[in-house]
Amino acid sequence: MRYFKEAPHLDRTIAEAHDRLISKIRAGLANTEQRTALYAGTESGTEAAQKALAALPDKRALLREARRIKYDAIQHLDENLENFIQSAKSAGVHVQVASDAATAIQLVLSIIQQARAKLVVKSKSMTGEEIDLRQHIEEAGVHVVETDLGERIIQLANQRPAHMIAPAIHMTVRQVTDLFSKHLGTEVPPDPPQITAIARESLRHDFLTADVGITGANFAIAESGAIVIVTNEGNGRLVTSLPPVTIAVFGSEKIIPSMTDALTLLRALVLSAAGKKITSYVTISRGGSKLAKTGLPQEQHFIILDNGRSTMRRDSTFQEALYCLRCGACNDICPTFRVFGGHVFGHIYTGPIGVPWTKFTSTLDAAGEIAPLCISCGLCQQACPESIDIPLMIAKVKETYTETHGQLAINRTLCNYESFVKLASTLAPVSNFMLEQPVFRRILQRTLGLDARRPFPQFTRRTLKKWFRSHESSGSRRTAYFVDTYADMCEPEIGKAVVGVLEANDCKVFIPNQVGSGMPAFLYGDLKTTTKAAKHNVEHLAQAVLEGCEIISSEPTATYCLKDLYPRILGSDEAKTVAAHSHDLFAYLLGLHNEAKLKMPMKQMEPAAYHLPCHTRSVYDKSNALELLKLMGADVRPVDYNTCCGIAGTFGFKRGLEGYDVSMAVGEKLFDRLKAMNVGIVLTESSVCKMQIEHGTSLKVIHPAVALWSLYEK
């Protein structure tokens, strides 16, 4: 009965937060105009970044160096801060440190009052958003004009940025036209170039008459006390050159040691943000230059904001959130962000990285409320130029939040998903029959919260592990197969194909002691369960490695856990050893091929489409299966799609707006594009991607291991 009751400690906070999120999800899904704009903008962002980075000969070296710089900068923050302040002061800059938002606001207001300012022009800054800077200055009776076009649109619409670097990404041309027409009291044509020209005209006057200019900073350089501002529109140049007083408000994490570091990070930032080598303008400024109008030196102020950053820095898990360059790549690639944007998936800071930043600069409750939109696909970390472990941070936010306020019953149920699969397998084929009955499905929907529209996989009592017990394996290479629950209890044919292909290539296979990966629990923030599974598996697999085995997995999530997640969670040498010896089947086979030791099959397969699962992308940044099948001459075409299919493990099984509806909205583009490819079969390694694609397209989906095994002569 425990699954049928809400947790007794579920408090009002989480219940209300859940309701708020669900109503935002409902509104977001219904807003088709916004969804079209968002998807186009985010997909093109990801595409540009991926393409540019892939073409870079020194990609790995660049990203490794970018991470090293931020790591060192945060380790030595106190020292860098001191140097920065001293250098900037020696150039005549007024530098102050603000411990929190209120202090920063006070400092800005007093500078504005001292300057007797009537008009303030601002360039876009997330740090400004963090402390509601514009709103506070306006409340003090001073007129503020945002000058970045996107931010200006947001100001006129009285909203918050919907994306880290493209604040108005969610708005259509029509909406922007209406906004400007209303603001200017005249009919504006629905044409972006003309709207831009009109905005230029009206903002030009503001630049020329402003008393104070406010900016953020992308980097602050300790060796010289200079700040770096990266823009495309050129508004940052006018904000900093025309007003007699300028103020830069930025977080302490922006301080880095040297100009050399700044140039490296600049490259990583612009590549990840826009797939470009550099932006239109990079302004490096130190000290107040002579003003054009008067010849007097400009008054320059730096306000360095802490506001939770020191606490973040002391937290071993969250510290690396401070490496964030604000490129927005995690916003662009995130499957749920693409549907909802930052007004739903965001508090002030948007998208995946917004969750940890919200926890420290706002509150845990604000972060916990949006955290369920993370479906643990892992793509944000993969897209991040700093490789920030955003997935683990979000899981920790979920954990702390549910420990404080309680866990939803459906999530608690799904954390124990493995015991359900075992039960269904034991009861098969009766369970299969039951799970297909509409009445039973409706009951499951009402009681457990599992959506009746989502088909369950077929379960079998003839599991792979049972079959393997009477199977004799031989070969000169030793391999240990980490079997996933699906290949064991739903589709043992996958497991048999894996074993078959390995044995055909002179590998002796054995199945070591193991439990389910623990990933379903991770999705809902039950890190204790995940850690327990990780410890068990690492302990036994490490033993296998000691005995000379390489570990093979055929499910992307399993590979992701072994190679990526377990070492991050456990941090032990044992976990790292297991990671180093673990391989996705196709990566292992490619390795054999590179040593000219792979037996090539003789038969050819029929043309197929291919979908790359997120967890494979996260670990390898490519598909080994696709590469190998192509080497074998197969006609396999990857679908033009660069994010998650939407099902995300158990997420897509949850009722309505809690899971199913969102998962199907995420997958929409994938379904359309696969159907348009006109092929009979789709290949993908992931069992859940398979369920999602079959459900969304009615196409036949098979595991590439099964496809490959069918090509070998038996």
Binding site: M171, L208, N235, L238, L263, T283
Partner: protein, 179 residues
């Protein structure tokens, strides 16, 4: 490389033998656009260039050297073309690096609708990496300084994900490589 980088972002690139031919180029685009006023940054190497345009008598050419501060500022606000020299030009990224300590000079490259940058061959470097020590030294000198790295005309894609040139700064960037 500089050529392809500049034109890739819809900039204009021209190789010219000397300042005289640069002044002809600028006069030509000025006449074609019916331009009345050109501002030139305060750089002794450009005086020959300015003089050549002035001699033609078609267009008013002002620079911080020729006018009082107030008058030059007034002229900056209405000039249609700004002409500047550069301190370095980066071939790999098509970036012009301009160091200023007087905002009059920076605004020559920021306020007018057209920015023409005159780049002597000697200022050309292969990549940004070669600019590191220059940038680092400039920011550690004992005067106030602004380094502008300009790689395209002013651009936005904030409305409907459509690229539009000339938001707040120049709509056109012309790079004239001399020699």
């Amino acid at each position: 490389m500089l050529n392809s980088q500049v034109t890739a972002v819809k900039g204009f690139f021209k190789r010219l033998p000397d300042l005289q031919s640069a002044s002809e180029y600028v006069t030509e685009i000025a006449v074609a656009r019916n331009v009345k006023r050109i501002v030139v940054s305060d750089d002794p190497t450009l005086s020959e260039f300015s003089a050549a345009i002035v001699r033609k008598g078609l267009i008013e050419v002002t620079s911080p050297i020729t006018l009082s501060r107030e008058d030059f500022f007034a002229s900056l606000k209405i000039a249609e073309i700004g002409v500047s020299s550069v301190d370095l030009a980066v071939a790999e990224t098509g970036t012009l690096i301009i160091s200023t300590s007087d905002e009059s000079n920076r605004l020559v490259t920021a306020l007018p609708e057209v920015h023409v940058a005159i780049v002597p061959r000697s200022k050309l470097i292969p990549s940004l990496a070669e600019a590191r020590s220059y940038l680092s030294q400039e920011t550690r000198s004992n005067r106030a300084v602004t380094l502008s790295l300009i790689s395209s005309s002013s651009r936005t894609s904030d409305i409907g994900d459509m690229v539009i040139l000339g938001v707040h700064g120049p709509k056109e960037l012309h790079v004239l490589l001399l020699g």
